[in-house]
Amino acid sequence: MRAMHLFPEASERRGGYLRRGCRIERHDAERCKEGDLLWYELPIQEIPDEGDAETFMIAVIMMAMQERRTLRVHGTISRQLLGNLTEYRDAWCLWLPQTYHPIEFEVDHVEEDGPLRPGAVCAFSGGLDGTFSIWRHARGLAGHRSQTIVHGVMIHGFDIPLDDQEGFSVAFERGALTLRSLGVPLRPLRTNFREVVRTNWEDVHGTALVAALGCFKASVGTGIVGSGWYYRNLLPPSETERHGAWGSNPVTDHLLSGGAFRILHDGADHTRREKIRALTAWPEGSNNLRVCWAGSDKGRNCGRCEKCVRTMLAFRLNDLSIPDCFPRVAPLHQLVREVKVTRWWHRLVEEADTRGVREPWVGALRFVLRRHAIRRRIRETVDILLPPGSRRREWAKMLAVDGTGT
């Protein structure tokens, strides 16, 4: 039987950090391959939850599904998390059946669900979504859903690689300064997750984030993940660019909740523009945004990638000047032509039309989106007339190959 075994190890002190580790062994029938060590390093003042293996199970579930291995956990998992991960597994198998496979879970100790501790921890990288979520919860602007945020967490080892210490220090100092204005402390967390879990980051970043937040569950009962989605853009997943599969999303994030630690996917009721407008009440938040993960300097925004451009446009839609944290590398209308847009960018044009924005980038974006829509329409029509997998499509392909003379 192909299996992946998880052996949580005792916490140990490393400099100013406390390391929690887990040995991952791959077994093929009787043969055991050499194991990796997945670790998380928390600030020394945090209390680790020693017997708990939930963090590690969440961290590796996608990798086990990809490798088609039974996941065997030599530790304690709550009944709630096991039930939720069963559904999480099934959703991903349906979304990407070529990549992820239904696997079994075997767990040494199943724990009954306990009461949740008060207080929440929020993932914070300096990006718009995390900044907005911390702001609205710290100010109690989410009504009955508002949480008491005990601290934010910035993770070293995700978008900023472990060996880029300087980039992380710059981002962390800026983030800590931003949150200080709300009276919320920021804690660092280091992990070698991306070196051990070699699964597509776009699929796995949701579980990666939640596993990291779970390291703090001995002191808080809720983890907040700022949403990069907008509810109106969820129509229907089969029509989205990649079958709706994206690591962190409002449909499956809550399925990463355990008996003592639940996950709130937060902020999908606001567009990017609305989030920026809300943050005008918090200048420290909006002036210190770090949204970029594509640039070479991970501590700063590149001002050229899709996410940087989209965020800068959202400022202009609110008739706000673009803050200094975004370098001006080229005029906006030129940047719009260079980035790879998705179909959701049409909301930016709609909002520009509604708000009467008449800047050159609106025309450039309209042109790019029209081209994108026509291509998509042609693809859809071809799929109806020559359905994938049909004989007719095969003939058409053969004809096309003959026509090119190859």
Binding site: A91, R232, V251, A268
Partner: protein, 398 residues
């Protein structure tokens, strides 16, 4: 909303709540929302207002009224409904406004019972969910289902008493084969809450099932849409149903990882469940399958695709193509289902006349929306170009 004490009405126990619409101090209307349940089962506390809040949230959003609940609601439900409200108001702002809700007693630290009840209409989704949980086919997610619950007053209206009695008798017989008793709830919810049923169906079902939270802490709702093609916002789906969970009553949206064809294949192993399937809600009688409506035809094609025999509850239809040709796919959700069917038929190289009829149906739909879509691309709504075109048109008409 003012919850009232439970009382005995005939052979049932009635839980009710007075709903007053107020503008300032003036009371504009006062109505009684009720749920009748079978006696001799523990019913929720009279002060428990969760079912009433679930039932009326969309109505208050439609009317733009602050919802003031003079009763007890768990903090978990209040928190979840805040997000639920935000989904509706951000997606359909022209229909639903973002209203506040004020609750006189918010209950912290509530604990739900471990047992589960399953909403059961006799359709493919609920039959599959009940079957898979009773057989513990869902691994660690499997629930101990102690009762099925059928609601009178939702898909079968209160006036259709005979149709409900027939559907209930057949469903009770089906569940008896699994050793699971079937309970019923009657409610006037649809008479009192004039909200689009496609939006209201999820909260209405959970509100009704909540009457039995003294018996169970988990409600299983069979998914009608898969994770691959569900619509937001919609009355019930994998994103929104979990947000109807309270501290006392967890809502489990179940089976969204299985297609309708896969569900039918699974149910085929349960003879009583398979033969009693009731999927039709458009036919002349709501307790039988007409074999002609969109859902009946879709189910018949699912059966053909899986190579399954016809269940006893379906009439024999020789040629499905004429029925398919008459259909119009208005809802995106239904369109996604038919697209999946067509794709599956092509993958399996099926060459029957119905495949051509389905292709025609999909092509017709693809081209129907093309005109307005092209117009919107050339003259985007709200743009100066569109305003000028409108002005020119008006000028041209004199």
């Amino acid at each position: 909303m003012y919850p009232e004490p439970s009382l005995r009405v005939g052979d049932r126990v009635r839980r009710s709540c007075r709903i007053e619409r107020r503008t300032g101090e003036r009371v504009e209307s006062s109505e009684l929302l009720w749920f009748d349940m079978i006696p001799d089962h523990p019913s929720p506390d009279d002060n428990d207002a969760e079912s009433y809040l679930l039932a009326t949230l969309l109505l208050s959003m439609k009317e733009g009224r602050t919802l003031v609940v003079h009763g007890a609601v768990t903090h978990e439900l209040a928190s979840n409904l805040t997000e639920y409200r935000d989904i509706w108001s951000s997606c359909l702002a022209h229909l639903y406004q973002e209203v506040d809700f004020e609750i006189t007693r918010v209950v912290e630290g509530a604990v739900a019972r471990r047992e589960a009840i399953c909403a059961f209409s006799g359709g493919v989704d609920s039959t599959f969910s009940l079957w898979s949980h009773a057989g513990r086919n869902n691994g660690y997610r499997s629930q101990t289902v102690t009762y099925g619950v059928m609601v009178h007053g939702l898909d079968i209206l209160l006036a259709e008493e005979r149709a409900f009695a027939r559907a209930f008798a057949r469903a009770a017989g089906t569940l008896r084969s699994m050793g699971i008793p079937l309970l019923q709830v009657r409610t006037n919810l649809r008479d009192l809450v004039p909200v689009n049923w496609e939006h209201l169906s999820g909260p209405a079902l959970v509100a009704s099932l909540g009457c039995y939270k003294g018996l169970a802490g988990v409600a299983i709702i069979g998914a009608g849409q898969t994770y691959g093609s569900f619509l937001v916002p919609w009355g019930t789906n994998a994103l929104m149903d979990p947000l109807l969970t309270s501290g006392w009553f967890q809502v489990l949206h179940d089976g969204a990882a299985r297609s309708r064809s896969q569900k039918l294949s699974a149910i085929a192993e349960w003879e009583e469940g398979f033969n009693s399937l009731r999927v039709c809600w458009e036919g002349p009688t709501t307790d039988r399958n007409c074999g002609q409506c969109e859902k009946c035809l879709r189910t018949l094609l699912n059966l053909k695709l899986e190579g399954l025999r016809l269940p006893d509850s379906f009439p024999e239809v020789d040629d499905l193509s004429p029925g398919i040709r008459k259909l119009r796919l208005t809802s995106p959700m239904v369109h996604a289902e038919w697209s999946d069917l067509f794709a599956a038929a092509n993958r399996r190289r099926i060459r029957e006349p119905w495949v051509r009829a389905v292709r025609l149906l999909l092509v017709r739909r693809a081209f129907r929306g093309l005109g307005p879509q092209m117009l919107n691309t050339i003259l985007p709504p709200g743009s100066v170009r569109r305003r000028r075109a409108k002005a020119l048109l008006t000028l041209g008409r004199g």
